[in-house]
Symmetry: D2
Subunit: 344 residues, 4 copies
């Protein structure tokens, strides 16, 4: 049984971590912090947790307490994890950061997109980018793991087989993606009111979204070519789920794309290549730590279309973070993550 | 490990049974029937089940096969279970029927509401009404259990403490209830299209809904008075969840209603009495086998208001059926049912 | 052509007033105020207005400017209208207040529910409660009209025929109502985020909601008996629409309730009594200034059930306000209000 | 006042035609047909029409009756209009067909995509493709007009300025589009149930959707180059609205794309080019005959992104059909079409 701490547990990735950890047989949450809600029971804020976490209360963040944990999750806005990280690292705590602070190796690029200088660029260099399907071995031994963003998870898993095998032109990639509103977080903003985003659909961030540099960095590792991605996110009138529709120019004639994807992910517990001709629905992964993928070549032309779905809060955040924890601590990678998607 | 059969597994209670049974350590689904989909893989029809039930296919209903199961669930429209029941009972199979066939003891009343004569009234008499919080002991030894309807579960658990203690007038009860659309089943009806029920709300069945006699029968067992219920169901623009708002005339002055409810359900794993002043949300039980209840006495007047929420597919159907199975087979009643509600 | 001013036009009732006034042939919006958005074009904030209000910008509230209008609408939170009202009244401007400031005659009761003393109780006394189906004649000559709340509109129109004819017991009334989220206004509150209220349903304000005293005051005018209402509002996962389900004890035997309702509302343009046995859907009035009503007597018992639906932003707010304006200025009451509900 | 007939008025485009025609001062619906609902009042099927069409009933289709109309709309599945068209054309009736029968000039291509031979290829040749922004003049004098499909309207209006000016590579176009569920029609299909498509998102028809040849035909008219489109439609958990996200390779360096779009549509009443940097929401056109467009060049790279939104039932179907009628009969093109979108 490992002792787990969570920093910033009042948001949606926080409550989802609690939901998932509740069923993990080898982990116990011993501390959860929130400056604004210190003293409140987590079950009061999130009644779905009643009966399971009746004793757990938010506390002020305290390095002493956190450093007694085997692992600390950061479920915070960007900027928070990097402020506390040096102290935790110095005390030997292992950290899984769900925020963006340690995802981008180029800290100048990071500073440009996140609007603040990076306070510990050295730790960025030692941090491991936590996409298990790519970095499983380095995750196992890492002290600091940066859990990938939600869009980046769906997009990278979709492009990876094609880029690694050099089948597509990396300089002309398109990722058209759509997310449920929970991805926008749990803050009182007019833009995310039910009456604003319900029964409607829109693109956002077309001039530039913070996940663009993260995705381009990840894709660049899969190819020797020059990566150039057009990334357009959209906001869906639903709570959970990301759907990425990926487009690329194929530079091969006939090719068994279906076989390529199946071979690539055959041994992965949390990537499911659907049968040829499929259209994965986000609901098939609602609440589940799973990425479902289908690959198409419409009309037999030279544009490949990959469809990739995840639950943004699970495989796109808290589930993936728990998968990372399982790898770091030598547990079965599927421990606590075998819940199925909710249909209907 | 007990062998489980499911008759009629192409509807929403069927797929939910499969989702829940997938995590049950002592039960294995060995047969699932569907005339219309015989031969199809369950994971093809419901992709959330992929990776978990890859070998399981729908088959034609066959009493030989079903009678080799320790327990058979009926997840069928009314009229189906009663047709097969005599043969199964004769062979000693234990049966949990999620349909309405064995819920109402008065088979003439049943025939009136369901528009067909009952074909095995004798088995109705021996069948146990499967609300564990009322009939736990008789369920344990029953051969045939009628799992309660979704509305009846939410309404009976809400009224029970008040009626049992004689605190309300049983002849003037009101149950104003609302259900997600999954309660209407998985059939191709215009009335249940997204474009018909989305972004709208309505009452239905006001002149008379089939759950009325079932609820009145259940409430009558809790009181010596004459029960008279006005029951108005409504259709919500959401998938899962039932919310019952119950009204009754109190016949006591000051009274610790909160204490009464807490005492009544203190030992129940699947009924959660919320703190005084609470308003339970259906999402707090989404996907979970839980009934959350709050009791109010607005303005200190003499009308009590009880709020009761369940997931119609879990505590209102398949989860409760699995709870019944746990009781029948002497398993821990919570086995396989500890998943938490999905927030957000 | 009358000159119209709007105070507080950045909320949902404000934009709905603009949408409706855009099609009114005899009214022109010449001023719209907002402290927070002064200087911004209304069409920038609400792009549905593009092409129609391209010149109109929010301005700081200015009594000089407003007093040059024939009529000023207040689409503000409570407390704002009463602060400006004396000056406007003194200058002879006619005012339609969509807020709660002038609805309740008993200003001590008002102060208790709204948590502040009332600053101009004398104007409250002269103000007319603007439910046209009850007060049409006094509205015509009023200087200050308090447009009714959304729930109070749906509930009063539903109970009125029964109370006026003494057919029900006024001391035991129940109004179970549900509203779309737009009723909660356009403020950045966590409670109204899509990820909080989507795909869920709950009651709220059961211990006491501010519309209770307003409704009880209105119902009391319809009967000589002592009015006692239990009012339970609920929050629907949809944007627009209110559905009220009303319950009362009938004190008559056989009675032509359908005929009573049809007779009562025969000459009303904006109350539509549905055929016997109907279940009005909120979508049938989405965007329309209409109240649709059905009356039921389930099982022929002695509880009457009335179903009443409106669009909370139209007949429940801005449409009714424009109907009031039409009456005040002698226009055809239906002017600008003939748009039909949006199905699907 | 022109006499209008509608064939097939029980679907969503039918009821939307009735909603819009109700406010048209120069048109009167005198006949509406439906084999399945003959004899039923339209207001019984669609209660939003109550009070407006109380006398109008569905009738069996009858060429005699229809030929007494000035104009007949077909709001039918494909295959119906072409069966009746020769007789109506012979009698001189003008026809606006909302179905796909007369959209594609190459009738062999049509037969391939629609799975049946075309029964009157000669009328196809004389029919005018009814996109007013392209074919206004020929529409004015046409006898038969094929109203464009919903996706084709959004996609063609978005690409037109770029293709006409030769700014993009026509052989590598991508249209990623998403539609509300009303686009799937009003038929009792499991796939379109609320419990199937609610709270979820998916692509569909990736291997080939029937709107692909229609769009490619339209785009080909705008350029001399070889048109090649990858078209991926998606299904949104909402009722109304289409959002198209268009991608193309620019073959120019710096260019005033914003100015190009504004110039192109300056005189169009129903195409609104948003300010630079905008992200149009589908709700801004809900219920309105409007196409809102924004053009972006993310990161200043060489991929242009166009965002184009319509209400699939209005500018994508019935509103556009009424716009066509206005052009054909010399009415103001905006007559009856000035309703604003519903926000919120």
């Amino acid at each position: 049984m490992i002792r787990v701490g969570i920093v910033g547990g009042t948001g949606y990735t926080g409550v989802e971590l609690l939901r998932l950890l509740a069923t993990h047989p080898q982990a116990e949450v011993v501390a959860i912090t929130s400056r604004s809600e210190a003293g409140m029971s987590v079950a009061e804020l999130f009644p779905n947790l009643r009966g399971c976490y009746d004793e757990l209360r938010y506390s002020e963040p305290d390095v002493e307490v956190l450093s007694q944990c085997y692992v600390v999750f950061f479920a915070t806005p960007h900027g928070v994890a990097m402020a506390m990280m040096p102290e935790l690292v110095a005390r030997g705590v292992r950290v899984i950061d769900l925020s963006a602070d340690f995802r981008i190796k180029n800290t100048e690029l990071w500073a440009e997109w996140y609007g603040m200088p990076h306070s510990c660029p050295d730790i960025v260099q030692q941090a491991v980018y936590g996409l298990p399907e790519i970095n499983r071995d380095t995750i196992a031994n890492a002290q600091v793991v940066a859990a990938p963003g939600c869009y980046p998870t769906a997009v990278q898993l979709g492009f990876m087989p094609l880029l690694r095998h050099g089948l597509i032109n990396p300089s002309r990639l398109i990722a058209n993606a759509a997310s449920g509103v929970s991805g926008a977080g749990r803050q009182g903003k007019i833009d995310n009111l039910f009456a604003e985003v319900g029964d409607s659909f829109k693109a956002y961030g077309v001039p530039g979204h913070r996940h663009l540099p993260e995705i381009e960095q990840g894709l660049a590792r899969m190819t020797s070519g020059n990566v150039n991605l057009t990334f357009v996110p959209h906001l869906l009138p639903m709570i959970r789920g990301i759907h990425a529709t990926l487009y690329a120019e194929l530079n091969v004639g006939e090719y068994d794309l279906q076989g390529l994807f199946e071979d690539t992910y055959r041994d992965e517990a949390f990537v499911d290549v659907m049968p040829a001709g499929s259209h994965p629905q986000t609901r098939s992964v609602k609440g589940a730590n799973m990425c479902r993928i289908a690959v198409h070549r419409p009309q037999g032309r030279d544009t490949v279309v990959v469809l990739s779905v995840i639950d943004n809060l699970v495989k796109g955040a808290s589930g993936q973070a728990m998968q990372i924890m399982n790898i770091m601590f030598g547990f079965d990678e599927r421990e606590g993550l075998q819940g199925l998607g909710l249909i209907p």
